[in-house]
Amino acid sequence: MRVELAHPTVRTFLRRGMVALVATRSAAGRPFLTPLWFVVHAGVVWVTTGTATRAARNVARHPDVTVLIHGETNAAEVAVRLRGRATLRPGLPPWPVLLRIAVKYYLAPRALRSEVANVARWPLRTRYYASVAGGPGHLAIVPVAAEVVARPDRPAE
């Protein structure tokens, strides 16, 4: 069901969703799909990724992307699908976006518990990020259409 971007379900999923499945098309026309963290700021969906990752390279050639946001519980019966145009930008996102990422994924109570429980792995994570292809970058995705779609694994019974 196609809906307005301001539809309450879309807004809820954009606010509460934790992982966006970002579908892109390669230069050779092949599909690529990657789960990425996201935040919404000023009407734009922001996701962080290296500037030379497959998703980033695909967007540089083909900016039309599809983003699927599932409900974060097994009980969710629908997902939200966005069509949008993405722009690849080098470096870190603007500070309001960074702040939203920090609050959502590192400082929220459950996030903080996970971070503290894995404090011994932080150095490994730092080295992992340092090895990301092309260095830090991000995608700014401007949604142009939204749909509420049924999740086939979650029949309304």
């Binding site: 934790m18 799909l33 974060e72 894995n118 490994l124």
Partner: protein, 137 residues
């Protein structure tokens, strides 16, 4: 001289790290995330149609080592024979993120379980990750 041996080993490891030769990975064997083959929290199928990358929520099952996806009939028409990417994944926070990606060709499969049309994926590449198991390689 176990002490010297240990010191040399640690020194070599440090040098390798400095040179960037000791990589860090979150990749795991697909069997390590085998539980996602049941009823994963997120199951998504991507393919290209009309020059645009599409993404569908799907039902995903691992049956006898074969990844199967179920989609509503309205989404099934164009899938047979297409290159697809299935991602089943879980977790909201960094050290909880894990998943499996299967790239291959969708082939119509028998059965209509759950009123869905089912496809088996002939895999060309399978990748699995678990950020909670990040480690040096």
């Amino acid at each position: 001289m176990p002490g010297l041996t240990t010191a040399w080993s640690l020194g070599s490891l440090g040098a390798e790290v400095l040179r960037g030769r000791v990589a860090v990975t979150r990749d795991v064997d697909p069997s390590a995330v085998g539980d996602l083959g049941g009823r994963p929290p997120r199951a998504t199928l991507a393919f290209v149609a009309s020059d645009v990358a599409e993404a569908l929520p799907v039902a995903a099952r691992l049956v006898d080592g074969v990844h199967r996806v179920g989609v509503p009939a309205r989404d099934a028409a164009d899938l047979h024979g297409r290159e697809v990417v299935l991602v089943v994944d879980d977790g909201p926070y960094w050290f909880q993120l894990r998943g499996l990606s299967v790239r291959g060709t969708a082939r119509r499969a028998a059965g209509a379980d759950g009123g869905l049309v089912w496809f088996a994926i002939e895999p060309r590449r399978v990748l699995a990750w678990d950020f909670g198991r990040i480690r040096e390689t």
